[in-house]
Amino acid sequence: MSTAAAAPVKTMPEHHYLNATYGIRSWLLTVDHKRIALLYLASVTFFFFIGGFFAMMIRLHLLTPSGYLLSADTYNRMFTMHGVAMIFFFLIPSIPAVLGNFLIPLMIGAKDLAFPKINLLSWYVYVVGGAFTLYSMVSGGLDTGWTFYTPLSTVYSNSAVAPAVVGIFITGFSSILTGLNFLVTIHTMRAPGMTWFRLPMFVWAHYATSIVMILGTPVIAITLALAGMERLFGLGFFNPAMGGDPILFQHLFWFYSHPAVYIMILPAMGVISELIPTFARKQLFGYHFVAAASLAIAVIGFLVWTHHMFLTGQSTYAALVFSFLTFLVAIPSAVKTFNWVATLYGGSISFDTPMLYAFGFLGLFLIGGLTGLFLGCLGTDIHIHDTYFVVAHFHYIMVGGAIMGYLGGLHFWWPKMTGRMYPEWLARISALILFVGFNLTFFPQFLLGYLGMPRRYHVYPPEFQVYNVMSTAGASILAIGYLLPMIYLTWAAFCGKVAGDNPWPATGLEWKTQSPPLTENFEVTPVVTWEPYDFHNRPDLGLDAVAANGVVPAHGDD
């Protein structure tokens, strides 16, 4: 562990948000952002395992070319419900609603979010939306693909499309309310001295994410509302048989759903931007550039949506413009990556579990991001669009990127959330299992894609089998990698070693209060006098003020 053995035996604080009140009502009616975060944690975990179960079925089924496990209809339901559960009910709320909810007020020195009741409401909205979607899953399932392309979804599908659409429509408002709450909180609730450029990068990332949430989500809401009304009442905007245009649906859908990818990855980037400076004990390299890159991604991310539609018959001019903008949005991600690596330089690096996740994130995000270039590039997209290449690419970003960030963040802040440490070695091993299993699952899919295996096939020509077998083998390793943290984190929450206020130690405001924090977060409102990630002027952290390990480079810094 990181701290010296000098510390006496730590004990849990007497009063904290977990024991402030008792009983089921105290949880279901709580307006404490920390408790709401835990409610979200439970519900997104639930959907993660539902989605994971579908994923397992998919991979098992694809072990042989003729797919022995499921019928075509069942398989189609599996991949659709996998996508819906994972994207709308796990990835989008995961980091913002769990870690963001818990940490943003703590990080900026506030007692709570600006609108605690709206925060609770957003969880209930999520639950109601989730219930509708679950109902769709058990009452006939959903077989339209998570993209709901019309007219398949509005006219031809025989599955329970309407309840799923209603569910996602409702859940959208949970996302909007969360984003709204974060934006207002970051604007108006910062503690004295917490200027914009003293904000932790996690907060910047959530600021950018919230912009996407409030501007994009309403568009998917109205789009799904129109699609739902088309299915139920025959409205006709997206139905070619009535003179409507299915491509319009795709425009509206991707106007949200492409930026939604940034809702998933930006918060993970925020987590990584916390982990790397903390475990390298060094300022984040190029703080202003990393912050600006977050905003740039949020804004340019809105200008690239039709790169999902290059082969729909879109106009050539539009395709050129959108492809160009797609290459532009790659740049801020590259800038972030370089800055993270540069942060390592001259640091004092430890390999605690969160840092292993950060390294894992770096590697996987690098591959995921760079393979995006193949898809954003018009020439190669003609070939690999709608193949397994796409599947591999977005799993590298969303599973490799977002979930690595999420798990890294959970490990990092678990002592803050529960007051207790997780078992370090078990955690390191499972991070490793996760990394290996992930690559084995998804790397072969790049090869499958370039060979030309289309997505969403329940059977496939035998020449694709080798890579499918590898992928399924990897998936079973991956499943263990996800089950382990779930088990030991739960165990640690009750029985782990008491962590103390700042076990790492880290520089953020959230570590200046007790673990777990009080209901009102801080006994007195803190006053911020230090720069973010500054280990040098923080005697309170109990570290050497001299860079013992660091050979300060003679050149190359300013």
Partner: protein, 327 residues
């Protein structure tokens, strides 16, 4: 396939070489950056690993020159990729004048293709080598996508509008084509073969459509065309029973009775499918009343008769097992 772990699919069109070259360019760039960043990270992780528990890192805030550098260099490389990709795409979306135009209709879950002289094919496309081919794509129901990996081309088939795609096959052979836009239940079965032939061979094929096809092969074609195959899968895994060996055999019905599958039964099953439901199956088959002519029913019957000699699957067969069926 050639190697056990293949990477590039076969190159068989004018676009294949260029797309692969562009792919390789991006790949080399991507590998370069992956290796560079990974090595730097690994190097830093070892060189700057923590030696004492209370060590902290050096005081480095950032470097504007570096930031500008690593913004501009990727930008320039990316713009190169964009430009090259744009050239290929514009070329692909702008068909030359002298094309052989073929109409392609996608419907759940089959392809109907028509040559300029009117000859129609199902799930098969014959084309001459080294001719510019333009496909004009339409859909009868949902969005499909016509995709030939060996040619590196694909295009969505959107109902309510007609998209086009073009290519020039450069190698005689037989290549897979797929539907690569998810289109419902049997999306994965909605594929076929592109058969690239010598011009002479193609001309012979084009003119060779015989007027009198045997009822069995006409029925077989109809069986696919009417999408019977999507449910009556011969290995018994479909939503409908396999029809192998059905003709002349005893069939156990859902109400427990047993009938012999003769011509009358087959005809009734086509026109009034809900009248006699085979045990273990749902009444999901639509009626073909008014959709098939008498002649077509005869052809279908002839084809189903011809399946008499086919192996009966252990499960999912229309034939009643010898022991069951007694009330």
């Amino acid at each position: 396939m050639q190697s056990p772990l293949p990477f590039f699919p076969e190159q068989a069109s004018n676009f294949a070489g260029n797309v692969d070259a562009l792919f390789s360019y991006i790949l080399v760039t991507a590998i370069f950056f992956t290796v560079l960043v990974s090595l730097l990270a690994i190097f830093a992780a070892f060189r700057y690993r923590r030696k004492n528990a209370s060590d902290i890192g050096a005081e480095i805030h950032g470097n504007t020159a570096l930031e500008i550098g690593w913004t501009l260099i990727p930008l320039i490389l990316a713009l190169g990729m964009f430009a090259w990709g744009a050239v290929i795409y514009v070329n692909y979306r702008t068909a030359p004048k002298d094309t052989l135009d073929i109409y392609v209709i996608g419907k759940q879950w089959m392809w109907k293709l028509q040559q300029p002289n009117g000859r129609k094919e199902i799930n098969e496309l014959h084309i001459p080598v080294n001719r510019n081919i333009k496909l004009i794509l339409g859909s009868e129901d949902v969005i499909h996508n016509f995709y030939v990996p060996a040619f590196r081309v694909k295009m969505d088939v959107v109902p309510g509008r007609y998209n086009t795609m073009w290519f020039r096959p450069t190698k005689v052979g037989k290549y897979h084509f797929f539907c690569s836009q998810y289109c419902g239940t049997n999306h994965a079965l909605m594929g076929g073969w592109v058969i690239v032939q010598d011009p002479a061979e193609y001309a012979a094929w084009l003119s060779g459509e015989s007027g009198d096809v045997s009822p069995v092969s006409a029925g077989e074609k109809l069986f696919t065309q009417l999408a019977c195959t999507t449910c009556h899968v011969s290995n018994g895994t479909g939503r409908g029973p396999s029809l192998n060996g059905v003709y002349g055999a005893k069939v156990l019905l859902a109400d427990g009775s047993i009938v012999t599958a003769d011509e009358g039964y087959i005809r009734e099953s086509i026109l009034q499918p809900k009248a006699k439901i085979v045990a273990g199956y749902q009444p999901v088959m639509p009626t073909f009343q008014g959709l098939v002519t008498e002649e077509q029913i005869l052809n279908l019957t002839a084809y189903i008769k011809s399946l008499q000699t086919q192996p009966v699957p252990a499960k999912g067969a229309g034939v009643a097992p010898a022991t069951s069926g007694k009330k």
